[in-house]
Amino acid sequence: MATLELKNIRKSFGDVEVLHGIDASIQDSEFVAILGESGCGKSTLLRIIAGLETSSSGQILIDRKEVSNRTPRERDIAMVFQSYALYPHMTVTENIRFPLELANWSKDDINEATDKAIAMLNLGPVAARKPKELSGGQRQRVAMGRALVRQPKVFLFDEPLSNLDAKLRVQMRAEIRDLQRQLGTTSVYVTHDQIEAMTMADRVIVMNNGKVEQFGAPLDLYDKPANRFVAGFIGSPPMNFVEGEIIAGETVREFAYQDVRLKLGAAQLPPGPVTMGFRPEHVTLKSAATGGLRGTIMSEENTGDRTFLVVKVDGNPMGVTSSVRLDVGVGDDVTLVPDLSRLHFFDPVSEMRL
């Protein structure tokens, strides 16, 4: 168990800088997810933490000791790879024992720790099998076993669930989280799946183009996105955006979009151009032609528990979700009335939250 600090980590491949100064401070026993789209630099950052890649500049501190120039074996970390990276010529037991043998543990200690890990991960019935004879979920568990058996200071996970089917992913999500809580090991988990990040992590680092867009608790990212990127990235279906203006009304500030006026109550926003955002679940549909954004329903998807509509407002598709079944259909004209208490405003130039 340890703290992990990243200070101004930069990485360039030739002339191209892919990480533009990453700072993060991860607490002891914390589970932090690094979330971002493919190519945003999240896996590169994880590999730099592991020591498999060197940073162009910056510092990595594990337990307040700088490890930036140390080899992976000197960092006391364990990593679960996307492909699991099990040793194909070794059995499950041998795979789990291997890190302990390399660390020169005594035979008795190795046997005890291996047996414990195998029991903890329910791998007993397949302990003598080779990786090719295991299912995806079993391979995943072996990779976990190999990582946890050594009791490292930090666990690193590189999209470990992306090769599993949806059902198994949900199951393994809970298993990994439970194990981490049980062991209390500081963990960094890279994923492009926001559900994984939101449900597993204590805090989430949202990355985009090699930069940290926001680092916070999952619900903070959802309720108070720091900028338009995070607002659009977190949440599925994504947040809707309307380019409008803040004007001073007779008594309170108002959001103005064409002839639509939304009274903002006590919100003290500076008058001028603004990007207003609202989530698909924070909007109600009305048939009346006034009091909201007027549009036409382009598509309708019913999943039983929810209805998802795409409504075209002035050529822009906007999502609407409802847990109540709606008596509307494709082609109907409707008015979207956002929940005024749950609007988000962003500077249209800097895209930062106002």
Binding site: G51, R73, M79, F81, Y87, P88, R146
Partner: protein
């Protein structure tokens, strides 16, 4: 779409050209060799005379001193040269692979010897080994070491031929093993690093077991080719001095052509073909068993 059930005629008919090629290029020459090995062949008045002698030619194999020397030298050459070539090929493959793209120049340099025709290799090395003006002896002279008769000494001639064979054929092992090394899963190697393995431990415990099937295959391929070594021996020593560098192919050549004894030469050839085939079959069987338990 409806499927058409083909009768046996079109099925086997389509294989006919391949069967004809196989028979003409592989089976018939071997069958002819087998047939000749039971014959005593001579020419009288320009006409070939064949006399069936049964297993006489095979019985004579055991008493042939030249063949004994050939077998012994060939086995030494196969084991020593092939082992060295596989070990060197593996070392070079690992070095090149670790250098990545910057190893392109080395890769080209390493495979050059295999591209040079045997006759030129013979000429190059004869000159290098030359007692009076060879570059090796000139180098030794600079170090104050007296000149050595590399190809003329019965104790050194076979070793000298083996060195040339290693130089000539290491690129073959290098190419096969480089493909295997490049095919090793990178993430497994990274997992070993994260698990705490030193470079040697990673090689010994992870890379080597994964490369083992490729090493065995390379060894077998190379051993089979080494068994047929002829041009290097012919050009460097012609089997001498005495029988110091006599190898099986050269014995066959001598008995078959120089001594004009096709029957006996064929018997040696058949015996060698079946011995080599047997060794390959046993090696492959062992490899398959090992694979099955992996």
């Amino acid at each position: 779409m409806t499927s058409v059930q083909l009768g046996w005629m079109p099925k086997y008919g389509s294989l006919f050209p391949a069967i004809v090629f196989f028979l003409a290029l592989a089976a018939l020459p071997v069958a002819n060799l087998l047939f000749l090995s039971f014959m005593e062949i001579s020419w009288e008045g320009g006409v070939v005379q064949r006399e069936f002698v049964g297993l006489e030619n095979y019985a004579a194999l055991a008493d042939d001193p030249l063949l004994k020397a050939g077998i012994s030298n060939t086995l030494i050459l196969v084991v020593v040269a092939t082992s060295c070539q596989v070990a060197l090929g593996l070392a070079l493959a690992l070095a090149c692979s670790s250098l990545g793209n910057s190893s392109r120049l080395y890769r080209t340099l390493f495979i050059l010897p295999i591209l040079i025709p045997g006759i030129i290799i013979g000429a190059i090395w004869r000159l290098m080994y030359n007692f009076q003006f060879g570059i090796i002896n000139q180098g030794l002279d600079l170090l104050g070491i007296p000149a050595i008769d590399w190809l003329g000494s019965p104790h050194l001639a076979l070793a000298s031929v083996i060195v040339v064979d290693i130089w000539h054929w290491t690129p073959f092992s290098f190419l096969l093993l480089l493909a295997a090394v490049e095919g090793l899963p990178k993430d497994v190697s990274e997992a070993a690093k994260v698990d705490g393995a030193t470079a040697w431990q990673e090689f010994r415990r992870v890379s080597l077991p994964l490369l083992w099937p490729a090493i065995v295959t390379t060894f077998i391929f190379r051993a089979v080719i080494a068994f047929k070594v002829f041009d290097e021996v012919f050009l460097l020593t012609s089997g001498g001095p005495g029988t110091a560098t006599e190898v099986i192919s050269f014995t066959i050549y001598q008995r078959f052509f120089l001594q004009d004894n096709p029957g006996y030469g064929s018997a040696i050839s058949v015996a060698v073909i079946f011995s080599v085939a047997l060794v390959i079959a046993i090696a492959l069987q062992m490899q398959n068993r090992r694979e099955a338990t992996r």
